[in-house]
Protein backbone atom coordinates (compact mmCIF):
# COMPACT_ATOMS: atom_id res chain seq x y z
CA UNK A 1 0.00 0.00 0.00
CA UNK A 2 2.89 2.35 0.85
CA UNK A 3 4.43 1.52 -2.53
CA UNK A 4 1.20 2.55 -4.29
CA UNK A 5 1.18 5.87 -2.42
CA UNK A 6 4.80 6.50 -3.40
CA UNK A 7 4.09 5.76 -7.06
CA UNK A 8 1.09 8.11 -7.13
CA UNK A 9 3.17 10.81 -5.39
CA UNK A 10 5.84 10.47 -8.09
CA UNK A 11 3.21 10.70 -10.87
CA UNK A 12 1.61 13.83 -9.37
CA UNK A 13 5.09 15.38 -9.05
CA UNK A 14 5.67 14.64 -12.75
CA UNK A 15 2.45 16.48 -13.60
CA UNK A 16 3.67 19.44 -11.48
CA UNK A 17 6.88 19.45 -13.56
CA UNK A 18 4.74 19.58 -16.72
CA UNK A 19 2.83 22.54 -15.32
CA UNK A 20 6.15 24.26 -14.50
CA UNK A 21 7.09 24.05 -18.19
CA UNK A 22 3.91 25.95 -19.08
CA UNK A 23 4.57 28.41 -16.24
CA UNK A 24 8.03 29.22 -17.60
CA UNK A 25 7.35 29.41 -21.34
CA UNK A 26 3.73 30.60 -21.39
CA UNK A 27 3.33 33.29 -24.06
CA UNK A 28 0.93 35.53 -22.15
CA UNK A 29 0.35 36.42 -18.50
CA UNK A 30 -3.05 34.60 -18.14
CA UNK A 31 -1.29 31.40 -19.29
CA UNK A 32 1.07 31.69 -16.37
CA UNK A 33 -1.78 32.42 -13.94
CA UNK A 34 -3.66 29.31 -15.15
CA UNK A 35 -0.53 27.21 -14.66
CA UNK A 36 0.02 28.69 -11.19
CA UNK A 37 -3.56 27.88 -10.18
CA UNK A 38 -3.15 24.29 -11.36
CA UNK A 39 0.16 24.02 -9.45
CA UNK A 40 -1.58 25.20 -6.27
CA UNK A 41 -4.31 22.58 -6.70
CA UNK A 42 -1.71 19.86 -7.38
CA UNK A 43 0.18 20.86 -4.22
CA UNK A 44 -3.01 20.15 -2.26
CA UNK A 45 -3.06 16.57 -3.58
CA UNK A 46 0.68 16.21 -2.88
CA UNK A 47 0.03 17.16 0.77
CA UNK A 48 -2.80 14.60 0.96
CA UNK A 49 -0.53 11.86 -0.42
CA UNK A 50 2.25 12.83 2.01
CA UNK A 51 -0.14 12.56 4.95
CA UNK A 52 -1.05 9.07 3.68
CA UNK A 53 2.62 8.09 3.42
CA UNK A 54 3.61 9.37 6.87
CA UNK A 55 0.33 7.99 8.36
CA UNK A 56 -0.46 11.17 10.23
CA UNK A 57 -3.53 13.37 10.02
CA UNK A 58 -1.89 16.59 11.14
CA UNK A 59 -1.04 17.56 7.56
CA UNK A 60 -4.73 17.73 6.71
CA UNK A 61 -5.02 21.16 8.34
CA UNK A 62 -2.79 22.49 5.58
CA UNK A 63 -5.08 21.33 2.76
CA UNK A 64 -7.94 23.76 3.44
CA UNK A 65 -5.52 26.65 3.97
CA UNK A 66 -3.67 25.98 0.71
CA UNK A 67 -6.86 25.71 -1.33
CA UNK A 68 -8.14 29.02 0.11
CA UNK A 69 -4.80 30.73 -0.64
CA UNK A 70 -4.73 29.40 -4.23
CA UNK A 71 -8.24 30.70 -4.90
CA UNK A 72 -7.55 34.13 -3.39
CA UNK A 73 -4.33 34.47 -5.38
CA UNK A 74 -6.05 33.57 -8.64
CA UNK A 75 -8.93 35.97 -8.00
CA UNK A 76 -6.50 38.81 -7.21
CA UNK A 77 -4.48 38.12 -10.38
CA UNK A 78 -7.67 38.08 -12.48
CA UNK A 79 -8.84 41.39 -11.06
CA UNK A 80 -5.41 42.94 -11.58
CA UNK A 81 -5.31 41.80 -15.22
CA UNK A 82 -8.81 43.06 -15.87
CA UNK A 83 -8.59 46.57 -14.42
CA UNK A 84 -4.94 47.27 -13.68
CA UNK A 85 -5.38 47.41 -9.92
CA UNK A 86 -6.47 45.04 -7.19
CA UNK A 87 -8.39 47.33 -4.83
CA UNK A 88 -10.45 50.16 -6.32
CA UNK A 89 -13.40 52.22 -5.14
CA UNK A 90 -15.73 52.52 -8.12
CA UNK A 91 -17.40 49.21 -8.88
CA UNK A 92 -19.48 50.04 -11.93
CA UNK A 93 -18.66 46.82 -13.80
Amino acid sequence: MILFFWISLILVSLSVIGLLIRLIKGPSVPDRVVALDAIGISLVSIVALLSLIFETEFFLEVILLMSILAFIGTAAFAKFLERGEVFDRNSDR
Binding site: P30, A38, S45, L60
Partner: protein, 121 residues
Amino acid sequence: MTETAIVNGLTIIFISLGVIFSLVTALGLIRLPDVYTRSHASSKSATLGVLGILAGTFIYFWLAEGHMNSRLILAIIFLFVTSPLSGHLIGRSAYISGVQPTDLTEHDALKQVIAEKKRKQ
Protein backbone atom coordinates in the same frame (compact mmCIF):
# COMPACT_ATOMS: atom_id res chain seq x y z
CA MET B 1 -9.02 -9.88 5.98
CA THR B 2 -11.69 -9.15 3.39
CA GLU B 3 -12.52 -5.81 5.02
CA THR B 4 -8.99 -4.54 4.59
CA ALA B 5 -9.05 -5.77 0.98
CA ILE B 6 -12.25 -3.79 0.31
CA VAL B 7 -10.85 -0.66 1.97
CA ASN B 8 -7.57 -0.91 0.06
CA GLY B 9 -9.44 -1.48 -3.21
CA LEU B 10 -11.64 1.59 -2.71
CA THR B 11 -8.60 3.73 -1.84
CA ILE B 12 -6.66 2.47 -4.86
CA ILE B 13 -9.59 3.14 -7.23
CA PHE B 14 -10.15 6.72 -6.04
CA ILE B 15 -6.47 7.68 -5.88
CA SER B 16 -5.75 6.14 -9.30
CA LEU B 17 -8.60 8.17 -10.82
CA GLY B 18 -7.19 11.32 -9.21
CA VAL B 19 -3.65 10.66 -10.44
CA ILE B 20 -4.87 9.94 -13.99
CA PHE B 21 -6.80 13.20 -14.08
CA SER B 22 -3.78 15.12 -12.72
CA LEU B 23 -1.62 13.74 -15.54
CA VAL B 24 -4.35 14.68 -18.05
CA THR B 25 -4.25 18.23 -16.66
CA ALA B 26 -0.50 18.52 -17.27
CA LEU B 27 -0.86 17.03 -20.75
CA GLY B 28 -3.68 19.46 -21.60
CA LEU B 29 -1.77 22.50 -20.37
CA ILE B 30 1.27 21.54 -22.42
CA ARG B 31 -0.47 20.51 -25.65
CA LEU B 32 -3.49 22.81 -26.07
CA PRO B 33 -3.00 25.90 -28.26
CA ASP B 34 -4.75 28.71 -26.40
CA VAL B 35 -5.41 30.38 -23.03
CA TYR B 36 -9.11 29.55 -23.12
CA THR B 37 -8.68 25.86 -23.96
CA ARG B 38 -5.91 25.61 -21.37
CA SER B 39 -8.10 27.15 -18.70
CA HIS B 40 -10.82 24.65 -19.66
CA ALA B 41 -8.36 21.75 -19.16
CA SER B 42 -7.06 23.20 -15.90
CA SER B 43 -10.38 24.04 -14.26
CA LYS B 44 -12.24 20.83 -15.04
CA SER B 45 -9.76 18.01 -14.87
CA ALA B 46 -7.61 19.45 -12.07
CA THR B 47 -10.76 19.73 -9.95
CA LEU B 48 -11.70 16.12 -10.63
CA GLY B 49 -8.13 14.93 -9.94
CA VAL B 50 -7.81 16.60 -6.56
CA LEU B 51 -11.35 15.48 -5.67
CA GLY B 52 -10.40 11.87 -6.36
CA ILE B 53 -7.21 12.02 -4.30
CA LEU B 54 -8.93 13.77 -1.37
CA ALA B 55 -11.81 11.25 -1.44
CA GLY B 56 -9.32 8.37 -1.38
CA THR B 57 -7.50 9.97 1.56
CA PHE B 58 -10.78 10.46 3.42
CA ILE B 59 -11.85 6.84 2.83
CA TYR B 60 -8.47 5.47 3.93
CA PHE B 61 -8.34 7.52 7.14
CA TRP B 62 -11.97 6.73 7.96
CA LEU B 63 -12.10 3.01 7.30
CA ALA B 64 -8.51 1.85 7.87
CA GLU B 65 -7.28 4.17 10.62
CA GLY B 66 -10.65 4.73 12.28
CA HIS B 67 -10.98 8.49 12.61
CA MET B 68 -13.27 10.54 10.42
CA ASN B 69 -11.81 13.87 9.36
CA SER B 70 -14.46 16.48 8.66
CA ARG B 71 -11.98 19.07 7.35
CA LEU B 72 -11.36 16.91 4.29
CA ILE B 73 -15.08 17.06 3.42
CA LEU B 74 -14.92 20.84 3.85
CA ALA B 75 -11.86 21.05 1.58
CA ILE B 76 -13.58 18.88 -1.07
CA ILE B 77 -16.67 21.12 -1.08
CA PHE B 78 -14.55 24.30 -1.17
CA LEU B 79 -12.41 23.09 -4.08
CA PHE B 80 -15.49 21.87 -5.94
CA VAL B 81 -17.03 25.35 -5.70
CA THR B 82 -14.02 27.61 -6.22
CA SER B 83 -11.90 25.88 -8.85
CA PRO B 84 -14.29 26.32 -11.84
CA LEU B 85 -14.95 29.85 -10.54
CA SER B 86 -11.26 30.74 -10.76
CA GLY B 87 -11.16 29.28 -14.29
CA HIS B 88 -14.04 31.54 -15.29
CA LEU B 89 -12.36 34.60 -13.72
CA ILE B 90 -9.09 33.96 -15.57
CA GLY B 91 -10.85 33.42 -18.91
CA ARG B 92 -12.84 36.61 -18.56
CA SER B 93 -9.86 38.73 -17.53
CA ALA B 94 -7.80 37.27 -20.39
CA TYR B 95 -10.49 38.24 -22.91
CA ILE B 96 -10.90 41.75 -21.52
CA SER B 97 -7.14 42.35 -21.32
CA GLY B 98 -6.88 41.49 -25.01
CA VAL B 99 -5.43 37.99 -25.40
CA GLN B 100 -6.34 36.75 -28.88
CA PRO B 101 -7.86 33.27 -29.31
CA THR B 102 -6.15 30.84 -31.64
CA ASP B 103 -6.70 30.77 -35.40
CA LEU B 104 -8.66 27.51 -35.12
CA THR B 105 -11.53 29.38 -33.45
CA GLU B 106 -14.61 29.41 -35.67
CA HIS B 107 -17.11 31.63 -33.86
CA ASP B 108 -16.43 34.43 -31.36
CA ALA B 109 -19.76 35.44 -29.84
CA LEU B 110 -18.29 37.80 -27.27
CA LYS B 111 -16.53 40.09 -29.76
CA GLN B 112 -19.60 42.16 -30.73
CA VAL B 113 -20.72 42.62 -27.13
CA ILE B 114 -17.32 43.88 -25.98
CA ALA B 115 -16.99 46.21 -29.00
CA GLU B 116 -20.44 47.69 -28.37
CA LYS B 117 -19.65 48.22 -24.70
CA LYS B 118 -16.39 49.97 -25.53
CA ARG B 119 -18.17 52.19 -28.08
CA LYS B 120 -20.81 53.17 -25.54
CA GLN B 121 -18.26 54.32 -22.95
